[in-house]
């Protein structure tokens, strides 16, 4: 793994902050992208102080797809690695009551991320190198009643990443799909999650490091989720539709 810049899209999230720290510790220049990115000035200073790497801040709106091409052109350097940590969990019960509330979840979690990764994919392919990392979710493995709007968006995102990986195989561009199970973040703060299944944001960051180093395609965090999802996938539909997971 060379020490080229890493672009972190959605830099405000807990997982993104953990990724920034891990890669900065290795010496990668960091490009932090988020809405209202000026707020992240303290994070920039923190990374520079701790690790002595150059850090740049970039305003980025995942929903403004027309601006994605100019956004990439405007980066100081085309990054070596790009991680998309953008998603919107939304409120499933609200989306049921008012279907229009589901739209922003789908756009922020699938459409927007797919758009920016598509732009980056073209640039990386033209260059002949690079790594694209999409943080999807086990929720996308199979739609279930408690979060299918978010799950559907993640399912679409996972398929998009898989398609990119297929297209870019052999071109020198690596595409990694990260499938976290439960992670202890702001998004899951109020929920009562089983401790053994719940990862710290830093575990996701470490898994990404390992995936890039070893050339892995699909990684689960924590690894036990690979087993859990294998079982979930195998349940016949007549059985699955009656579960309350």
């Amino acid at each position: 793994m060379t020490l080229g810049p890493i672009l972190i899209l959605g830099a405000r999230s807990d997982i993104a902050r953990a990724i920034a720290r891990r890669f900065a510790a290795l010496g990668h220049p960091i490009q932090l992208a988020a809405r209202g990115v000026a707020d992240l000035d303290a994070d920039k200073t923190d990374l520079e102080l701790r690790f002595g790497v150059p850090v740049s801040l970039h305003d980025f709106d995942v929903l403004d797809v027309a601006a994605h091409e100019p956004f990439v052109s405007g980066l100081p350097d085309l990054p070596q690695i790009a991680v998309c940590a953008i998603a919107l969990m939304g409120d499933q019960s609200q989306s049921i009551a008012d279907p229009t509330k589901a739209i922003p979840v789908i756009r922020s979690t699938f459409e927007g991320p797919a758009s920016i990764l598509a732009v980056l994919a073209n640039r990386f392919e033209a260059r002949g190198s690079g790594t694209l990392v999409g943080i999807s979710s086990v929720a996308g493995v199979r739609g279930r009643a408690s979060n299918y709007v978010y799950g559907a968006a993640k399912a679409g995102f996972s398929a998009f990443l898989s398609g990119l990986r297929n297209r870019l195989a052999g071109t020198g561009v690596q595409v990694v799909t990260v499938l976290p199970g439960y992670v202890a973040t702001r998004a899951t703060q109020g929920l009562d999650l089983p401790a053994a299944l719940t990862a710290r944001p830093d575990e996701v960051a470490v898994a990404i490091l390992r995936a890039i180093r070893k050339g892995q395609d699909v990684v689960y965090v924590r690894p036990v989720w690979r087993l859990i999802m294998a079982v979930i996938r195998l349940l016949p539909e007549p059985v699955f539709k009656r579960t309350r997971l």
């Binding site: 807990d14 200073t45 923190d46 102080l49 701790r50 702001r186 703060q189």
Partner: protein, 441 residues
């Protein structure tokens, strides 16, 4: 969620909130009737627990600025001393004052006004704090120091989080030439010898005595004294001098599950003490030790509190004035010997004078001991409280898990004034912990 301190005693079911940013914190402070901030949760008792609202400050973990001329670091309260060392030791800086674990947050270090093995020379954590940003009950943030709102500064250092939520602080690091410590080991056959060594070697930057609290008769209070100085580059052998801040990475072991509660008893602790004392005799003299091993020997064993079993442990830490220390310690050791209880890891340190509205240290000697949390040991601790009281000593709130308000009032006249001050500033309703409720602080 069930929260406790490092001693895992007592435990409370508490609502835990993890704000990210000043705005979210302000919302919490304004919307909750009462709350207490929590850092790494390494106080032994219930200082950082409020069942209604405990505020986890560890997302405030950014370093904000460093001035290499003065060695001043500005950082958010959730930054740990371990982070500070990892970042700045390679550049030749080390914390001026450090407690026995590097996992404490800066906010916690300030709230407890922690001390280390150099209190008689450098003082408590207070001596390295330039200013503190505190969020008050109305959600407003005040930057206090020795000249601006000095009362708030005075009461926040050692104030156990009861004056407000600590957000940021500026602390001074001290320059060091290497990551190594010149350690001298001296074994002392009894308590009198231990005191003599402390008096004789007051020149040492760092000093601590591990005391065998189970030995009786003429060997009462036998100890292994460790003295330390930061090694200069010239003190290092050529192999280390080339990279003076490169120290070996210790493999961290962990205690993954609770041991049975009878693991630490008179026999096992007695055996450990005998072996430790013998090892002290064998390694008497001067050696070079890395900073992690000298300052944080217990950090190498993750979850060592599990050795005490599911019911946890209770720490007893008092400080006695110099003229009463010999008599007080002798009486304490006699009471312990008589009880049949077995304190583990007993540590004695010299202390110097101290400022502050509620900070623990005072000129004299401090003894800290761990006991398994059992009915027998709790009863013993009540008797030990009395002995400390009779000898003019007082207790460390960061270690306390079971003291009564009567004992606090009898041993620390400042407590009532601290409480009244909090009242006057409108803090008493808003900032409360299970400990402050128990102690009427």
């Amino acid at each position: 969620m069930i929260l406790s301190g490092w001693g895992r005693f007592p435990r409370h079911d508490a609502r835990l909130f993890t704000p990210r940013g000043d705005v979210a914190l302000r919302d919490l402070v304004l919307s909750k009737d009462s709350l207490i901030a929590r850092g790494a949760g390494l106080a032994y008792g219930d200082s950082a627990i409020n069942p209604a609202a405990t505020v986890d400050m560890r997302q405030f973990d950014r370093m904000l600025a460093f001035d290499p001329q003065q060695g001043q670091l500005v950082a958010e309260a959730g930054v740990t001393l371990g982070d500070v060392i990892a970042t700045f030791l390679p550049r030749g800086w080390f914390p001026k004052v450090t407690p026995g674990t590097k996992c404490v947050t800066l906010g916690g270090a300030i709230a407890a006004d922690v001390h280390g093995k150099n209190h008689h020379i450098t003082g408590s954590f207070r001596s390295c704090v330039d200013w503190i940003d505190v969020m008050l009950p109305d959600g407003e943030i005040t930057r206090c120091d020795r000249s601006h709102d000095p009362d708030l500064f005075d009461h926040t250092l050692g104030g156990m989080g009861l004056t407000g939520v600590i957000l940021r602080a500026a602390i001074r690091l001290m320059p060091v030439e290497s990551g190594w410590i010149q350690q001298e080991t001296i074994t002392c056959a009894d308590l009198a010898t231990t005191f003599a060594v402390f008096a004789d070697r007051a020149d040492a930057d760092y000093s601590v005595a591990w005391v065998d609290c189970l030995s009786r008769g003429t060997a009462t209070g036998r100890s292994v004294v460790l003295l330390g100085q930061h090694a200069r580059r010239g003190d290092l052998p050529a192999s280390l001098a080339a990279r003076p801040f490169d120290t070996p990475q210790r493999r961290r072991r962990s205690v993954r599950f609770d041991l049975p509660s009878w693991t630490l008893n008179r026999a096992s602790v007695g055996l450990f003490n005998a072996l430790y004392f013998r090892r002290g005799q064998q390694s008497a003299g001067i050696s070079l030790v890395d900073w992690d091993r000298f300052f944080y020997p217990l950090d190498a064993l993750e979850g060592w509190n599990r050795i005490y079993g599911r019911n946890g442990l209770v720490q007893f830490q008092c400080v006695l004035p110099p003229e009463q220390a010999m008599s007080g310690l002798t009486t304490l050791l006699a009471a312990i010997a008589q009880s049949g209880e077995a304190p583990f890891l007993s540590v004695l340190k010299r202390m110097g004078g101290q400022q502050g509205a509620l900070s623990f240290p005072m000129d004299g000697y401090t003894l800290a001991m761990d006991f398994a949390a059992r009915a027998g040991t709790l009863a013993l601790l009540d008797r030990l409280d009395r002995i400390v009281q009779d000898h003019g000593g007082r207790f460390y709130l960061a270690k306390d898990a079971r003291m009564s308000p009567a004992v606090l009032a009898a041993t620390d006249a400042r407590a009532a004034a601290f409480c009244a001050w909090r009242d006057a500033r409108g803090m008493r309703g808003k900032f409360r912990s299970a400990q402050s409720e128990r102690l009427n602080l």
